[in-house]
């Protein structure tokens, strides 16, 4: 029995929205919401208020394959690509998610925020960045080291198989306002050394990332493919 009076009806719809009603009452309210605009409005109004409780929870980064799964289910992504590709393009624009990717990454972020650590690096400082699978702590894949004379070494800890029609591209981001800068393509599993001119001055907190791109690299001046590994530079020695 659904009450006719507005207030008891609104409360009953609240119970339905919270998932508290059992059959057959739940079905009755569901049918009411489907046919009665005022009831539908009340249900969405409860849902809107309850968003405050949802927003009390910390966000969690979805695993990298989720976006591909969704695209596959919608028939947008060819299966082969979906198997190889992981994650979502445009992570550069989603700094909020980066901060949540893992405890280790969070620690690096924290370190980079400490006063005195986040500053322009005078020559002579050395840095390291552990690049991890986004959202997965304890899955380091690559290590970046920048020595005192500014030479950057990217070393692989993993041997990932990359599809023949794809390339892995190395990027860095100093300031989100300036956008990412490509540091070139890399061979999976193989390291690379770049000199100080190619890298520019490195700062604590600077982001490095590897993304999966079309063969030959991203057609744009920013990553278009999923992030494979990501990490921030931490100052390890100041000379």
């Amino acid at each position: 029995m659904i009450p006719e009076a507005i207030e008891p009806r609104r409360a009953l719809i609240g119970e339905y929205v919270l998932g508290l009603l059992e059959e057959p009452e739940a079905s009755e309210v569901r049918a009411l919401i489907a046919r009665d605009r005022e009831a539908a409005r009340m249900a969405l109004e409860w849902e809107q208020h309850l968003l405050e409780l949802a927003d009390e929870l910390p966000a969690q980064s979805p695993s990298l394959v989720l976006w591909d799964r969704v695209q596959q289910s919608l028939g947008w992504a060819p299966a082969a690509q979906a198997n190889a590709a992981e994650g979502v393009a445009g992570w550069w624009n989603s700094l909020g998610l980066w901060r949540l990717t893992s405890g280790a990454l969070a620690l690096l972020v924290l370190l980079s925020w400490l006063p005195g650590v986040l500053r322009d690096a005078p020559s002579g400082d050395s840095f390291t960045a552990v690049l991890q699978v986004p959202g997965e702590s304890a899955k380091p894949g690559w290590v970046v080291t920048v020595d005192g004379d500014g030479t950057l070494k990217l070393q692989s800890l993993v041997a990932d198989a990359i599809p023949a029609d794809r390339s892995v591209q190395f990027w860095t981001l100093v300031d989100p306002k300036d956008g990412p800068r490509s540091l070139g393509l890399i061979e999976p599993g193989k390291g690379v050394t770049l000199n100080a001119e190619q890298i520019g001055a490195v700062q604590a907190g600077q982001l490095f990332e590897l993304t999966l791109e079309p063969q030959g690299g991203s057609p744009l001046d920013r990553p278009t493919g999923p992030v494979l590994y990501i990490g921030r530079a931490v100052l390890i020695a100041s000379n």
């Binding site: 929205v17 919270l18 998932g19 539908a40 409780l53 009390e56 979502v88």
Partner: protein
């Protein structure tokens, strides 16, 4: 957090027109928060990701049914996720065996004058109104929202008779709506 700059209604309407870019922006904007809620409800990340996947597919397919004259787009999206999560919980028939510490904490969180003022200024109407409820009414509502528990499950978790729990929740919701409408 809701992003007041983000146009959820316009984005859903764009999805209804088949705009994949709009859907991707919505994913980037909201997937993390949706997953946070799904993990809290389901207690397991793999099941939460399945739930989020199903909900997102549904959001795309049903975007043309969203009607901004009925309410806000973000609420509509969360209603789809919560509905799926609740169905998953019911079909599984098991309780999430997790630490309810944060729920206890929120249940203990009674109204202080300064909290009410700050809630009001930040537009946190529900928090303000929940704080004004007595704990026995507030706690079961939080367990229903965060754990998706049924009346019976709440009664057993709080070792309180079923009829008492039903009455408290109903009275709690009535008081909440009065406070929210005020």
């Amino acid at each position: 957090m809701a992003d007041s700059e983000f146009d959820y209604e316009g984005t859903l309407e764009a999805c209804a027109r088949g705009d994949k870019g709009a859907f991707q922006r919505l994913y980037q904007r909201e997937a993390g928060q949706l997953l946070g809620l799904a993990i809290t409800l389901l207690g397991r990340r793999d099941q939460a990701e399945d739930c989020l996947h199903d909900a997102l597919v549904k959001v795309w397919h049903n975007a043309d049914r969203f009607d901004r004259s009925l309410g806000q787009g973000r609420a509509w999206i969360y209603s789809i996720l919560r509905y799926r999560a609740l169905n998953q919980l019911r079909s599984r028939g098991r309780l999430v065996d997790t630490d309810d510490g944060f729920i206890e904490q929120m249940a203990d969180d009674s109204a202080q004058a300064e909290d009410i003022a700050s809630d009001q200024s930040e537009g946190r109407e529900l928090r303000r109104c929940l704080r004004q409820l007595e704990r026995p009414r507030r706690h079961p509502i939080l367990l229903a929202f965060y754990r998706g528990l049924t009346h019976e499950q709440i009664a057993s978790r709080l070792t309180t008779p079923l009829g008492t729990i039903k009455g408290r929740i109903r009275a709690g919701l009535r008081a909440l709506q009065e406070c929210l409408q005020a």
